[in-house]
Amino acid sequence: MSVVESPTTRRPGGSTPHRAPGRAARPRRRRQGASTPWLLVIPTLLLLAGLLGYPLIRMIVLSFQNMRLRELLSGRTPAWVGLDNYTKVLTDSVFWTVVGRTVLFTIVCVLISVFIGLGIALLMRRVARGVRLFMIVAMMFVWALPQLVAAQIFRWITDSDFGVLNYVLNFLPGVNFDNHSWFVNPWQGWGVITTLVVWAGIPFLAITLNAGLTQVPKELVEAATVDGATPWQVLRNITLPILKPLITIVTTLSVIWDFGLFTQNWALRDGHPEPQFQTLATYSYTQAFGQSRYSIGSAISVITVLLMLGVMAFYIRQMFKIGEVD
């Protein structure tokens, strides 16, 4: 962090004397209360340091120790085991299966949701005003639903005995979905989870991208259309390039959110996901709180954060680049 700090922070202080004349009245007052901004941010920094910074360090330390139930109950300092936990985790084929599954789920889910979200956003520009309003209202209700509630609804819809999904699918010719359990076959189970995540994610994507589409100059599109551009050409050469920064941001956010999948597979599997329904987040949680292997859980969490670090850095760089941060 300090690497980024040095070149950027020097600027505000250094440029003060060169400020525009209109702002000349302020430095005098600012000198008076040079410590004021720091007094204002100190409570926030203390809280973040205490409940985010310290746990982060503690998590890293834990991953090099052997903290189990015995150590927790006795309060003894757990033994230092060096890289043992990491060796254990990284040589475990179960862990790599979970990593692969989480990555695959993230890719599939993000691709489907961004694709549909963009499609819906474009569709919203094409439909009549009343239909657009209906679409927005429908999506707002979905967006507003708490994740856990949404997961519970999907659990009910896909219930093997009384779920409405099996009932409706039975109307298809030649199939029998009576008492069909959706979570016996992991591919079907993940299909349900993916549907749930995509369904819940579309509103944010579609509504945000639609807001972006309203910023595409109407004149540009009309001029191109009059000059004979096909709708596809307009989309590829005008709309998408203008929308690109926004698409990048929402895709990055979707990756971060989907990679951390917990609530949906946790709730759909009654709080006890079978091995084939574990993701990195639930796997780490189960190791720590289900089996009291706090150190192994921490090591998995550290690896998870490291895996995501690149994506997070990319998001922050993007936010700085588009000038939202000044």
Partner: protein, 293 residues
């Protein structure tokens, strides 16, 4: 941010391109739009449909698409279920404490970032942005051990502080946007007219940030109200919130779908209402500025 949202909304209708569009295409588009909306709404409709059905209709092998004998029985049995009211009260206490705390602390920091230039400002912005991306769940293990040592597990205070920190970065970030939206000229005019910095704060910045404070606290409310993993891990059933209740309900007593769906509706109502009130501000916090008008 709010200020910018209202004129932009008007452009949704004005900016529609009409050149070169066939009538048949529009009809198809409208049809797809309606089908899409109905599909999106189906799960929402289904939870309502289930919640108002008597028990025998809920567990009918041929589900009906309308409650034949609508009843409030599921809601009364949800309210009468063990710990439901207790957990509702817990959730309220924890959420209100967290939101109030985050608002006070976060507003000060937002003020510093938006209105002062000082050494380290960019670094603080970076921290506030980065911290929002840290998966809080990853920190649950050390957090649990920390609060355990401080005897703050199984207490509403421990969870409140945790939630406060959970919503603090977003609060700072959003309020900073609202404060930046107030023209600096107003501050300067007041200063020239002899106001002190404190007076500028009380008479100009605070009243003008009012809507922003509401929007931000509502979003904080939603986040804290919806959380269940932390509270479920740290506290025993008597000290949890309604979300955690929904989770407990499914595992311990088999699934009573009717009361569960009724409970889910009761739990969602405050969130849905609040969300619909402030929906326009939610996305902008994360993406605003990505497209310049």
């Amino acid at each position: 941010m709010v200020v910018a949202a209202s004129p932009r909304r008007k452009r949704v209708d004005d900016g529609v391109v009409t050149v070169g569009r066939s009538k048949a295409g529009t009809v198809v588009a409208n049809a797809i739009g309606v089908i899409f909306s109905v599909l999106m709404l189906f799960p929402v409709y289904w939870v309502l449909n289930t919640a108002f059905k008597p028990a025998d209709e809920v567990l009918a092998l041929t589900p009906t698409f309308w409650p034949e004998h609508p009843t409030f029985a599921n809601f009364t049995s949800a309210f009468k279920a063990p710990l439901f009211l207790q957990d509702m009260l817990n959730g309220l206490i924890v959420t209100v404490l967290a939101v109030a705390g985050a608002l006070v602390v976060g507003f000060l920091a937002a003020l510093a970032i938006a209105r002062f230039s000082f050494y380290g400002r960019k670094a603080i912005i970076l921290v506030v942005l980065a911290v929002q991306l840290v998966p809080f769940l990853a920190l649950l293990i050390p957090l649990f051990l920390m609060l355990q040592t401080a005897s703050l597990t199984n207490s509403l205070i421990g969870v409140s502080i945790t939630y406060l920190v959970l919503i603090l970065p977003y609060t700072v970030w959003t309020l900073r946007g609202f404060i930046s939206g107030i023209p600096r000229e107003l501050d300067e005019a007041a200063l020239i007219d002899g106001c002190t910095r404190a007076q500028v704060f009380w008479r100009i910045i605070l009243p003008l940030t009012g809507p922003g404070l509401v929007a931000t606290s509502v979003y904080g409310f939603i986040q804290a109200w919806n959380e269940f993993i932390i509270i479920n891990t740290l506290n025993s059933p008597a000290k949890q919130n309604l979300m955690a209740w929904l989770l407990q309900n499914q595992t311990t007593r088999g699934t009573a779908w009717g009361p569960l769906m009724a409970g889910a509706i009761i739990t969602s109502i405050p969130v849905v209402v609040f969300f619909l009130l402030i929906q326009r501000n939610i996305a902008t916090g994360l993406t605003a500025g990505a497209v310049k008008g």
